[in-house]
Symmetry: C2
């Protein structure tokens, strides 16, 4: 994940997940985070994902989806539910999850959306 | 910026800016990035900002705004226009900017939006 996601022309949906980690279980967390990205990529309606965690400890993961239904299905996926539960109990000191409808997009190099 | 932004109940707007830096001018870039965050905070309709750049070089900055008009005004702010121009010419190898309408939000600890 070292490039902006190659998403289609809007409209589509974004899940913006901003989190602060606890010190707990870095190896377990890292493995699960990788697994979730792999699993999300297999879900119907998945368009792409971008993720970064800075030195200050704040992490931002944005996943892109064709529809709200695709986001709902991903939220309810069994293995993802287990990860969500572990996240709330162990891995995250705080987080905010926002579901948003992407209306416009512009890129460099200029994308089709420009 | 070490916590998720404390945003109000949706709806509101998000500008998701995902970028890959060139090797050029790290000090100048860092100073301008800080200045832009300070300046954005003084704009009408600004709600908050979250930013992270990971080891892979991908940076994600999400700023939150009350309306599309507030986003337009910020895009056209004179000093910000200069930064955008420098960004395109020098600082960014690639970027994608997405404007999205936040429809729902959930947090840990549980926010008012839950």
């Amino acid at each position: 994940m070292s490039d902006p996601a190659a998403t289609p022309l809007p409209p589509y949906y974004a899940v913006i997940f901003t989190s602060v980690r606890t010190p707990a279980d870095p190896a377990g967390y890292e493995a699960m985070a990788q697994r979730m990205i792999e699993l999300a990529g297999q879900q119907p309606g998945f368009l792409g994902v971008e993720s970064a965690r800075g030195e200050g400890g704040l992490g931002i993961t944005v996943s892109y989806w064709t529809s709200e239904e695709a986001i709902r299905n991903w939220r309810e996926q069994a293995e993802h539910q287990l990860a969500q539960s572990l996240g709330r109990r162990e891995w995250y000191a705080s987080y905010e999850l926002r579901v948003a409808r992407v209306e416009r997009a512009y890129g460099l190099p200029a994308s089709e959306a420009d």
